[in-house]
């Protein structure tokens, strides 16, 4: 079995709490470390100052009466209780007087401040030890102080000292016990432990209250999404109205759900339309075949029926291809075959392609695309979209009073490139109809008489979406103006 993290650590709240705890603990340790080192330095300086004062006093005694007075003063001071240490030794390091019984070897060899604290034994230490082992008789020392002292007693006391060489080759040591600063450090250590403990407890409390509150909110969101996944697409995530990040998240997810529901609705509509638009010709196809089979037919009738069948199935294939293409373009199909497309050339190509058709229909087709304008895109798709629009314009320009005319204009408009196809036919006067005209399979009443699948403008719209552009239907004066807006290329 692999090492598994406790389930509780899998929640973000627990992980965050642990992280914060660690972070604060690190900060506290650093702070305490800084404070102890600073105060230890201060205490050492203070100790050294005391020693210096002591040495100064002894020096004055020496000046007054030479060695005998010095020794007497040292003996006198040694008897006084306190942290001060005194020692006078001969040139060989043999202790002559003072309150130090023994000390670490080598301390007396170097003159000046001892480089680090050394350990020593004081006179009467053994007796003191014995006294301290009798708890009933402990004096002013507290239990913990005694423990500290005991711990130190096993390896002697620590002290720092100044070693001086007297004129007659004798050695004098003046020092001070370090018990006090060490006790101070112990106090700080305890404070640190306490602080860490409190923080741990605090972290736990924070996780318990804050984390669990967040967890509860998330659980309710999870619950709601499971319900929606279960098929209830009208369900929404709970919003408390506090306006916090959870509300914002829920609102965004709700907006997404609304969009999905709309797309779903659209898809349903499209499949209904597809069913209608494919079923109608399929039924016609089938009926024609059935009618041809039943009853007596001349060979030419069979031929005619079969030709009709082929023509009808070709139309079906075309519709099917268009539906597939629109779906792929709308699904965000990305093409590797996009590059610089010269729109002026695209306009010339399409206008040239449709010019004979327009002439035959008695429509004047003109292009105004002198300016060289390029966009990023796919020439084939742009060509197809534009030819669908021009095709429509030619079909619907007739019927109005004026001489039917279609005009294709290419121009720049700010950051956009506008390619508009305007006709002077009846147009689409109703705003709603105009908006609906680019929807799939929508064939407005007036266009029912014209051949077409109802997919031409939808395809053009999908092509424009693919090019990050827009397709707009604007009322012309008269007629209709279909505008394709492309974002211009950067390098212009």
């Amino acid at each position: 079995m692999a090492l598994s993290v406790p389930a509780i650590m899998k929640t973000t709240a627990a992980r965050l709490s642990a992280l914060y705890f660690l972070l604060f603990a690190l900060c506290a340790v650093a702070l305490v470390f800084y404070m102890t080192s600073l105060s230890a330095r201060m205490l050492t300086a203070q100790t050294q100052e005391t020693i210096n004062d002591e040495v100064l006093g002894l020096a004055r005694a020496y000046q007054r009466g030479g060695l005998p007075i010095l020794v007497r003063v040292v003996e006198q001071r040694s008897r006084q209780p306190g942290a001060n240490l005194y020692l006078i030794a001969d040139a060989n390091g043999q202790i002559l007087t003072g309150n130090v019984q023994s000390l670490e070897p080598g301390v007396l060899e170097n003159e000046g401040w001892t480089s680090s604290p050394f350990s020593y034994q004081r006179f009467g230490e053994g007796e003191l030890e014995r006294l301290r082992n009798l708890p009933a008789e402990q004096g002013t020392t507290t239990q913990s102080e005694q423990n500290d002292a005991q711990a130190q007693g096993e390896k002697g006391h620590n002290a720092i000292a100044l070693v001086l060489r007297l004129p007659n080759q004798m050695i004098m040591l003046v020092g001070r016990d370090l018990g006090e600063p060490e006790r101070f450090r112990a106090v700080i250590r305890r404070a640190l432990m306490l602080a860490l403990g409190m923080m741990g407890l605090g972290g736990l409390l924070i996780w318990f209250f804050v984390g669990r509150a967040a967890l509860k909110r998330i659980d309710s969101v999870s619950e709601a999404s499971r319900r929606i996944m279960g098929g209830d697409l009208s369900g929404r995530l709970p919003v408390t109205g506090v306006g916090d990040e959870f509300d914002r998240l829920s609102e965004n997810l709700n907006a997404m759900l609304a969009r999905i529901a709309a797309l779903n609705e659209g898809l349903k509509q499209v499949s209904d339309n597809i069913a209608h638009d494919l079923k109608t010709p399929l039924t016609r196809l089938r009926n024609r075949a059935e009618a041809t089979l039943s009853g007596k037919q001349k060979p030419t009738d069979y031929r005619q029926a079969l030709e009709g069948t082929i023509a009808e199935s070709d139309q079906l294939i075309k519709t099917f291809n268009a539906i597939l293409m629109i779906s792929r373009l709308e699904a965000g199909y990305s093409s590797e075959n996009t590059n610089r497309v010269d729109l002026a050339e695209a306009v010339r190509d399409v206008v040239e392609l449709y010019e004979p058709v327009a002439e035959e229909a008695g429509v004047s087709l003109e292009a105004d695309a002198r300016e060289a304008v390029s966009v990023n895109g796919n020439r084939e798709l742009i060509g197809q979209a534009l030819s669908n629009i021009v095709d429509n314009a030619i079909k619907y320009s007739t019927g109005a009073n004026a001489q039917p005319a279609v005009r294709v204009t290419l121009e720049r408009a700010g950051a956009d490139v506008r390619l508009s196809v305007a006709d002077n036919g009846h147009g689409i006067p109703d705003d709603g109809d105009r908006a609906r005209a680019t929807e799939r399979f929508v064939r407005l009443e007036k266009s029912r008489s014209q051949p077409g699948s109802g997919l031409g403008l939808s395809l053009a719209k999908a092509v424009m979406t693919f090019h990050n552009g827009r397709l707009e239907l604007l009322p012309g004066n008269p007629g209709l103006s279909v505008v394709m807006s492309f974002p211009a290329r950067e390098d212009h």
């Binding site: 030709e307 082929i310 023509a311 070709d314 294939i317 075309k318 291809n321 293409m325 792929r328 199909y333 093409s335 590797e336 075959n337 190509d349 040239e352 392609l353 449709y354 004979p356 058709v357 035959e360 796919n378 084939e380 798709l381 060509g383 197809q384 030819s387 669908n388 095709d391 030619i394 077409g452 699948s453 031409g456």
Partner: protein
């Protein structure tokens, strides 16, 4: 359906018989192709998967190959790339259900010479295969095309019929050039749209028919014999007599 003014020329006149290799995993479609090619006067061999097809193509001497893109064991594009790397230059027409611009480009890049999206009309496939036939495609190098009394000079961009100068628009010239390069062969509307206009989509209106009828007016008006024929259910053919 036809917008042409002239009467249909009746049955399609076929070129010299070809040896065609069909690599297609759909048994029914392959059988239909074999039968239809045979009716058109050609011989077709069928391979049911990519590996068999590759072995047949590598061993036999075919005029044209028709290869389905998606097949078991070895896909069509891999077969084509394998054949090309072995120095086989037999023209290949790719059949595919994938019809987007990118799919076509990938197919042609793999070494295919033409690309036809399923479902297709057999007349379209036949016309394309006949145009691909390597024995008929020697015309690329010629500078002057002649069909009967019609003459097209590719260098001076001039067209004459019975020594009479005919003025054509640039696109009409390219249209006639393509028709004359494939004189005696059926040329479909989509082939014209692809090769003369470089578009691969289906226009909503049959724009090509109008272009062809306009060209027909220029090269037939005032001459007693029709030269640009409409082939029913298929396309057009430029043919003298």
């Amino acid at each position: 359906m036809q917008m042409s003014a002239t009467q249909p020329s009746g049955e399609i006149a076929y070129n010299s018989p070809m040896k065609i290799l069909v690599i297609e995993d759909d048994r029914e479609a392959a059988d239909y192709l074999q039968k239809a090619f045979a009716e058109a006067g050609h011989t077709a061999h069928v391979a049911g998967d990519g590996e068999t097809g590759f072995a047949l193509a590598d061993a036999g001497d075919y005029d044209v190959m028709v290869i389905d893109r998606m097949m078991p064991r070895r896909d069509g594009l891999s077969v084509i790339a394998g054949l090309r790397s072995r120095g086989n230059t037999t023209p290949v027409l790719i059949l595919s259900a994938l019809g987007e611009v990118d799919d076509r480009v990938t197919g042609l890049r793999a070494g295919g010479d033409d690309y036809l999206t399923k479902p297709y009309a057999f007349s379209e496939l036949l016309a394309r295969v006949e145009v691909l036939n390597r024995r008929a495609s020697a015309k690329e190098a010629e500078t002057v095309y002649r069909v009967g009394d019609l003459e097209l000079d590719r260098l001076s961009h001039s067209v004459r019929r019975a020594s009479r100068e005919i003025t054509l628009q640039p696109r009409e010239f390219r249209l006639l050039e393509y028709l004359m390069r494939h004189a005696g062969q059926v040329v479909t509307r989509t082939m014209l749209l692809e090769n003369v206009w470089d578009y691969h989509f289906d226009p909503q209106t049959n724009v090509i028919d109008v272009h062809v009828s306009r060209l027909r007016g220029k090269i037939e008006k005032g001459f007693d014999k029709p030269i640009l024929h409409t082939v029913r259910g298929a396309g057009y053919m430029l043919k003298s007599g």
